[in-house]
Symmetry: C2
Subunit: 337 residues, 2 copies
Amino acid sequence: MPATIRDVARKANVGIGTVSRVINDSPSVRDDTRQKVLAAIEALDFTPNPIARRLSTGQTFTIGVVLPYLTLPSYIERLRGVQNILADSNYDLVLFDIENPSQRDEYFKNLSLKSKVDGVLLISLPPNDEQAKRLTNSSTPAVLIDAYHPDLCCVYPDDVDGGRIATRHLIELGHQKIAYLSDYLSTPFHPSMRLRYQGYSEVIKKEKLEFDPKYHVEADRGRLNARIMAKKLLTIDDPPTAIFAASDSHAIGILDAANEIGMSIPGDLSVVGYDDIRDAAYVNLTTINQHLVQSGALGAQMLLDMLAEPDKKNQCNQILSVNLVIRGTTGPPQQRN
Amino acid sequence: MPATIRDVARKANVGIGTVSRVINDSPSVRDDTRQKVLAAIEALDFTPNPIARRLSTGQTFTIGVVLPYLTLPSYIERLRGVQNILADSNYDLVLFDIENPSQRDEYFKNLSLKSKVDGVLLISLPPNDEQAKRLTNSSTPAVLIDAYHPDLCCVYPDDVDGGRIATRHLIELGHQKIAYLSDYLSTPFHPSMRLRYQGYSEVIKKEKLEFDPKYHVEADRGRLNARIMAKKLLTIDDPPTAIFAASDSHAIGILDAANEIGMSIPGDLSVVGYDDIRDAAYVNLTTINQHLVQSGALGAQMLLDMLAEPDKKNQCNQILSVNLVIRGTTGPPQQRN
DNA sequence: CTGAAAGCGCTAACAA
DNA sequence: TTGTTAGCGCTTTCAG
């Protein structure tokens, strides 16, 4: 039904190759013939069939974005960054949501990709070695966003430094008893929270502060669980004067707990979060901002660059710096020492 | 590099057509030849090239999902519903995010679709008449999710009824002075909030309650603005004893305001929200639940059905019912009448 | 039941 | 500079 390149050629009285050249902005077309062709294209309301072009060139002009759980705000933000970049390119974004481990495995196995996408962006999906190998072996370039593997291109935030920065901020305010509250670190699902913990404990040790295991608390995911655990933590003997939370959700749960047991913030307790989600500003939470949207954009751009110059060994590892956003939930402890 | 259908044919000592038949589960293949072919496919690790198939059949096995502002949780939920359905189909999901009105217009104009997608899902993007016409004229089937147009297939929530239900709930508790707080209704961007308002005022009138314009408050988007406006509303002469908020974000802002000026909930003030977002449960908010994920799933299924049986006039308008979730922010007013 | 052949709409090499 | 031709890898007649 829609006009084809042949219709245009006939109408413009030129060869089909010429039309193709015009479409592809080839310089070797005389200007008047170009005009003829353009006119015919206009008249016929012709748009080149992308599929045919794909078959012909071998490129799909499609990049696959794989991410887990479309629910988490942070993944979505990264996806936005990706989409922003891709929108300005010729590439379409095809979305693969992984909602359970078996989907995930299947995805890595099939790389359903096979000639379906020109490149893959994996968001927050750290591959194991076997999966990484499969990725490197496949001819489709891939980049990991918010995940790391030595053999792959990655862009990820400097979580260790985030942990350091948050902890240092608290110490500089005069805190000595600083707790860390996170999801369970023993599961393989939260590498970033483990890294933040690493930064935290590194600073604690360097500053020769008391490193009390009771100040390290783990809770199930979610604000409510954080609240419950925080309440416990704050009512023990010799409670901390500050808590570094592995996420803003955790931090907000802590705020709720403090509120519940009548502690004032930041007088009785300082709290630092992580992520700088939308609500953080609203509750005036001091937190670590990692540049989520930017991470997606950077990853997408990296992939686009790889696609553009396949041979050129690209700068393939981008560590994104994080920064402290000081708001109202941190201050000096009430009673020193 | 990857094996083609021809390689398989050669290896299996059959014609290329036969291989195609095997791939497509055609019944007219003798079982032993089928086995031969299958073996060859296995041996060569052959996967049919989807692009070639697309060109050949004219189908793209791709459906385009267009939605505005990837940020809003409710859109994301709907997208999840779509993705859930599409994941189990043969269709890929290609994502188009509209971040500004010009992108939107451009999208409707180009329908970039032209032979790129087999169908379109528009989420929360009410088209005007011209755009709708373009959609109906284009040969690609489309369905609107969370939007309505008489000429198009739509699935959308019963917002008017949501307004009714919330208001009735409050009246049944004994409230007479019921306010409605929403975004600005005069802009074309919040048709649903307008409909909820319609349901609200309908019930107010039917119950012959005082319909005081001062009880209708509009705020800029966001929790903070809701909080500010709510504070104003609650400190006027003769304040309302209950507020119906057009969204949970608004409602939570109202809760904050009440807290700030020392009103107790639901003793001094009842609040009903809308959407039942995640935080609603956390703050124990009574609210209206619209089935977001389901709306996406339904829309996607509808489109798939249209694709499967193009001629059959499908049930093309699905109004999703909403329901009241009673939690802790509503109760009888303290002083009657 | 099966093989051969003709496209799908485009790009790219090759002549002219 | 331009037209012609040969594919890209598959589906689908059409014979046989």
